[in-house]
Amino acid sequence: MQLYELTIHEARDLLEKKEISALELTESVLARIDAVDDKTDAYLTVTADTARARAKAADKAIAGGTAGPLAGIPLAIKDLICTRGVRTTCASKILSDFVPPYDAAVMERLSTAGAVMVGKVNMDEFAMGSSTENSAFKNTKNPWDLTRVPGGSSGGSAAAVVADMCLGALGSDTGGSIRQPASHCGVVGLKPTYGRVSRFGLVAYASSLDQIGPLAKDVTDAAILSGVISGYDRRDSTSADRPVPDYGAALAGDVTGRTIGIPEEYFNSKGIDPDVRAAVENAISALKDAGAKCIDISLPHTPYAVAAYYLIAPAEASSNLARYDGVKYGFRDMSATALSDMYTASRSAGFGPEVQRRIILGTYALSAGYYDAYYKKASQVRTLIINDFKNAFKKCDVIAGPVAPTPAFSLGEKTQDPLTMYLSDIFTLSANLAGIPGLSVPCGFSKSGLPIGLQLMGNYFDEAILFDTALCVERAMGIAHKRPRL
């Protein structure tokens, strides 16, 4: 067994027992990146030198008995999480040279915990997309099938985890951007409750929906990472000032007496692939067998989630991305001579087509005369979706369903048809609109050998229940150790 194949909790044990060193572990992961990343194209920046230095520091801390919970653990970071002194591009030409002079709050927390960042990973530009094909730099491939997408927007994070090019990763999820690539790549991904993780230093796509979360090789690792990155931060006014439970310690995998709600709207959908349906239903019966009670529930406003999301998210994005104007930092078209020409030229050349599409969409939705019909109406729909979940959680502890309607699709398959691409988020958007936590855990494979995830959604701040339920699924399915051959 190679060190890069370890999970975080396995590596932690070996490091604690001093059977391996953090430097060896980091070297192993760096060598793995070298060996396979020209096939997957997950990394945008590899920070080998600083990773080695951090690993050596971790070894010292371990020797001195002062090691944090992630001491020496090599992690990959989605390239829209600001890293002090390390280029943070958001996979966009407009920020291709941007080096933040500050760390995101999650980076501070990882750093205190002793983690080793090995690099920054690819994504859809500004997190807008479901396939990582909207990156300005390269297409990341799905390690299970290099002709397919890894999902998105955190496609680089998911691919890096499943290809053993890191022990775990951080992504961000605005409409499914952690859960959908986790499902497509066969890893565990959590979108925490809105406010659970500080957004300070997360480059904003849609501020009221964005959350940072972990992508991990198994449920235990996801719980460990969540515990480290969660918690109140006064620099983020939307951050929740409430204690973070010890997610790892709460893991038992025991669902006896837990009620699982099965939303009919998630299974009536015409677009759902038969393999996905079979795998998800199989996982649900495994939960039943393990002692959970499954009941049918309804989330009646589900059909309006896509429309509401594609008004609210672009509206916020149109404003959030206004700061990329060529004036202060980032790309500027130097040929323009007048101010308005400079804006137009810089933004037209700096942003890719999907980002421009969403800026235009959002600008329109907020325009005078359209605001009430679009943005305001979408906000009202959002309230209805929140109420759907509130009602559902009166009857059940966890909601289970598919993450995505299909397994990973082929590169280029949906790039010409944005609307079809938007529908691949149909099951994940609602959790962002409602602000509740959602998790993707591998539950099977398609006939062609592509991973399929089960989505579990919980009530506000009920991440611990999601991890515990997911652990039960993971044990029952017995596929957590499966890796693609590269």
Binding site: P100, Y102, R199, F200, T238, S318, T337
Partner: protein, 476 residues
């Protein structure tokens, strides 16, 4: 046909908090460009605003002082537009749900009646930076020190019926801001700015005419001028058979006229929407009560108290309460027992003139209130005359020495001893026999001459009351 103007004002006032509204950068004016900045006010990727509570408290103070209703829950909104001095591409302001609404202030009209002016709303927002254009080269510079400096915008109802009323309203608002110690209200430095909405209509018509928005009125002096110009302009447009168009016009200080701001900037759609980075601002009763309790006495109340408690004229009370520090100085003076009228006269007279000549404000006065009070007590205790007091005052301004010390050092103590004065008077009468004769023959005006001679002989130290009494006796 007679026309009447209808005017509403939007006042922007910088709040004097130490730090900016959404970050901890200093708000100090006049620092080298781009030194009071951080990732938050520079609008860098991924950073977030955190509301400065002081700003909310200052806005609440103004809301209470203008009789507004304070919202238990208000929201910040983004006002979206592109400009190089606006680093985020939007300004964080308040739109649908401002912190305060439905207030009023009373202004004094020249005929000494009061008029109530409605306050539509007060809201908080961040200021933008400053663009500096190089006149010699096609280059512009941006200074972001001012970006994020807190502002409140105070919007009046269209209740103002003349440029003079607008001026009185502005002065009243500025006085309240200064009383509350929340803003300098300095128009020339840009910490107090004013836009005006103005229309005219035939007298007696209730329907409003089409309004123009006047911007760039950056001095108190120009407000009334710009409004007067605009009223004339609109009336002449209408009487000439034309129609006033709704537009923004800029005041041109050099040419003393308003100009239409035609072009792109007219067509702004700010696409306001609630800022998702900031949670709704909740103000509970406890917070409201705490701020309410911390309010100082406001100008109108203080003025009324000065008239009723200190028996001052309306004129004196107006002058003394126009500025909180002057009123504080006055009260500190009389607290030591100096007579109110004398204090009022000296503060508004000698002290104001001396400070004015030295370009100092009253809180920088070289003579603290208790020192002035002691000087004035020397007059009422007959230690020195009012005339000598002026000499002592000049010395106090220059040296900062106490009045008593100066009087002793220079031997300025007033002579009230009747026998000493009598001796001087006898000498004066002996030396001026002709004048004595003329006086006794009925030329009573010569009394002044004798008093002057006695004073000269005593170097001004003789008690004028005693001198007068003895002179009258001896000459009759």
């Amino acid at each position: 046909m007679n026309f009447e103007p209808v005017i509403g004002l939007e006042v922007h006032a910088h709040l004097k908090t130490d730090t900016k509204i959404f970050c901890s950068c200093s708000t100090k004016f006049g620092a080298p460009p781009n030194t009071h900045v951080c990732p938050v006010c520079l609008g860098m990727p991924g950073v977030l605003p955190v509301l400065n509570k002081k700003v909310v408290e200052y806005a609440m103070r103004m809301a209470f002082a203008t009789n507004c209703e304070i919202a238990g829950e208000s929201r910040f909104a983004r006002k979206n537009y592109f400009y190089p001095d606006l680093p985020k591409g939007y300004q964080i302001s308040q739109f649908e749900l401002p912190i305060a609404e439905h207030g009023h202030v009373d202004i004094s009209l020249p005929n000494s009646t009061k008029k109530r002016i409605g306050i539509t709303r007060i809201h908080m927002e961040e200021d933008a930076g400053k663009s500096i254009h190089d006149p010699g080269r096609p280059v512009s510079f941006v200074d972001l020190n001012r970006t994020g400096v807190p502002l409140i915008e105070i919007v009046s109802e269209p209740d103002l019926a003349s440029p003079e009323e607008a001026g009185a309203y502005l002065r009243q608002i500025r006085m309240i801001l200064r009383y509350l110690s929340i803003s300098d209200g300095n128009m020339e430095e840009g910490s107090f700015r004013c836009d005006a909405n103005i229309s005219v209509r035939p007298a007696g018509q209730t329907e409003l005419g089409t309004r123009a928005e006047l911007k760039n009125i950056n001095s108190f002096k120009f407000v009334e001028k710009a409004l007067a110009y605009e009223i004339k302009r609109q009336i002449s447009v209408i009487t000439g058979g034309g129609r006033v168009i709704q537009e923004t016009r800029l005041w041109d200080t050099a040419k003393n006229r308003t100009n239409s701001m035609r072009g792109k900037e007219e067509a702004h759609d700010y696409r306001y929407f609630p800022d998702p980075d900031l949670v709704p601002l909740v103000i509970d009763d406890a917070w409201m009560d705490a701020v309410k309790k911390s309010l100082p006495e406001l100008p109108d109340a203080r003025r009324a108290r000065f008239i009723s408690d200190f028996d001052l004229s309306e004129y004196d009370a107006d002058l003394l309460t126009a500025d909180r520090k002057t009123a504080d100085y006055f009260e500190a003076c009389i607290a030591t027992g100096a007579p109110t009228k004398l204090c009022a006269n000296w503060i508004m007279g000698e002290l104001a003139a001396a400070l004015n000549a030295r370009g100092k404000s009253i809180d920088q006065s070289p003579i603290p209130a208790d020192a002035l009070a002691k000087l004035l007590c020397l007059i009422t205790d007959n230690v020195i005359s009012g005339k000598i007091a002026k000499t002592v005052f000049e010395e106090m301004i220059e040296t900062g020495k106490p009045a008593q010390t100066i009087v002793e050092e220079k031997g300025l103590v007033q002579v009230s001893d009747a026998s000493a004065i009598e001796a001087v008077i006898d000498e004066v009468m002996t030396n001026n026999p002709d004048e004595v004769e003329k006086y006794r023959a009925g030329k009573k005006k010569l009394m002044g001459f004798f008093v002057g001679q006695v004073m000269r002989a005593t170097k001004g130290k003789a008690n004028p009351g005693v001198v007068n009494k003895i002179l009258t006796n001896k000459l009759s």
